[in-house]
Symmetry: C2
Subunit: 342 residues, 2 copies
Amino acid sequence: MGRSATTLTDVARAAGVSLSTASLAFSGAGPISAATKDKVLAAAAELGYRGPDPVAASLRRGRSGVIGVVMGSAVRRSFRDPVSIQFLDGIVTTLAPKGYGTLLLPASAADETPDAMLTHAAMDAAVLMAGAVTSTSTIAALRARKLPTVQIGGAGRQGPAVRARDKDGMRMLGEHLRERGHTRVAVATLPWSNGATSGPVEVGTTRRPAAPITARRLDGLREAGVEPVAMWQCGSLVEDGIAAGRALLAERPTALVGFSDLIAAGLLLAAREAGLRVPEDIAVAGFDGIDLPWLGEDTLTTLVQPIAEMGRLAAEGAISLAVGGSPKTVTVDVELRIGTTT
Amino acid sequence: MGRSATTLTDVARAAGVSLSTASLAFSGAGPISAATKDKVLAAAAELGYRGPDPVAASLRRGRSGVIGVVMGSAVRRSFRDPVSIQFLDGIVTTLAPKGYGTLLLPASAADETPDAMLTHAAMDAAVLMAGAVTSTSTIAALRARKLPTVQIGGAGRQGPAVRARDKDGMRMLGEHLRERGHTRVAVATLPWSNGATSGPVEVGTTRRPAAPITARRLDGLREAGVEPVAMWQCGSLVEDGIAAGRALLAERPTALVGFSDLIAAGLLLAAREAGLRVPEDIAVAGFDGIDLPWLGEDTLTTLVQPIAEMGRLAAEGAISLAVGGSPKTVTVDVELRIGTTT
DNA sequence: GCAGAGGCTCGAATCGATTCGCCGACGGCG
DNA sequence: CGCCGTCGGCGAATCGATTCGAGCCTCTGC
């Protein structure tokens, strides 16, 4: 707060009351007569007092009122991902009215030393966005600080988490596709492991992805009896989806499934590009339920996650942690929204 | 930070050194022998000390190391606007490595009382995103705190700002369109005033928009001798752009200009929907230079703002303010990128 | 008129570190 | 052998508020 010349002590002196009384006038946490309060406030205005120093108050109170939000490892990528952004939105809009601040923290990349902020910023608790969980150095840094955290999209193995029943969702989608008679389903998955590069994934193997999200969603499809005829792993980007689509179409699938809506949108564009009619020639489905107003006439068949709601739940969990509570892991349902693409 | 049983005092005692020496071992800001330092660090590890309390350190240092970022009034809208997000991205990625934290603050809506965070959070300086500037209560709250701020996209009238030469850019675009022989240009502008609703704007009037961004961009077009045959004001959303496009096409323009790329994308979709070939039947141009990988074959003619760079400049300005400097307003060039749509 | 009961105010301790000036000891040099 | 410079460690003040128990003053009720 820099050169703040005037402190509460000055105000108290000017108002002719004690420091403690002046404090009460601002915090309102105690009995104080209206007259005295006005006197203090007037003196404060007179002196141009900025209000109680938040840092000093935090020190005394033992809580900073700040919740950290650790974005995915690749900061730039997180900022391009509408799902992360909507999580963030849900978090901020929940925290702000409750008087909590949101501190944005980039997760350190794979094994770099974590940013100073991660280790040195004042926070009462933190929310870990799915993508960030993979960076071991980030987790280690947080644990070293003994900072309570809630994961969003994570497994909830090491503490409270907010997660969606994505396996169930994918099973529903798989069943939907089978009902529609699709047997040749090609899938553009999320990366199989942290830091994997885009490209084909061998099918017919029973290997499970190392990345939990990818694994769960794939499991869901398989539970529905859908065994992909081709797979391609890629990031949640339209570009990657287009590339995946071009590659996957070589296998002549009758349905394309993207593990995110952005990917699915890319698949759809690739299908259109190939001159295929959707859904007559090929079906396309995604995951997330984000707004894609630019798809034109089509609305994507997708599994809708209550994204903002998950952000809200994570924020509430973090607040609970901040005040010493121990929130439980929350699991939310995803809903199959059938659009015009299947 | 809550139950932190162990403090630096405990560590010092355990290590058999004084408090001041223990502090030096962590901060490194003073002469200390390697042996002593190791001894302290070992004692700290032994006790499970989390490191110096950031809040206490901030209080003593007089700086919190946190920069606030005030997002546009309509939080949800800001989070959907890729430009805001990329500003934020540029800001975060600049601040983090320099050891500054980014505190996300939703601006209060029009005339509501500002969120507690705005007035009570610990910050050394703040960045005001363009959209947030309009909310008077937000500005008032910040001013009352005497918090130094840098505006992004603002006028820079009341302090340092980072701005783009958008008028010049629009002039270049106007000239480009005239060179291509366009005389009937319809424009989908940003809102003319804070809180304006979407809809037609009367042309032929000399009225200037109250919103500075809208005004500057329109001025630019006019300087190039482009007088719109029709105008529609709307938010920076694809949906709004589509609606604007449908309405504007009634005037049979030969070119459509959107004041943001999202709007322009909507215009393009509306044009396609109307069966018009782009650019043969109608030209489309935007503003911002964001990635729109889903436009298919087309690449939008647009004015590229160096968005991340502007975020970086704003962040550096904020840091300068935080340490007591007085950064100047920075103005960056926009570049006309000619795509396939004109 | 007095005792009791509230309602306000005030003192003082405390939150956990940073930092500056001072001092002791040790080593080099005359 | 003694003096001075220097390096490293120590004490104490300080950052700016919050908060609780103690005390005072006034009002009420008998």
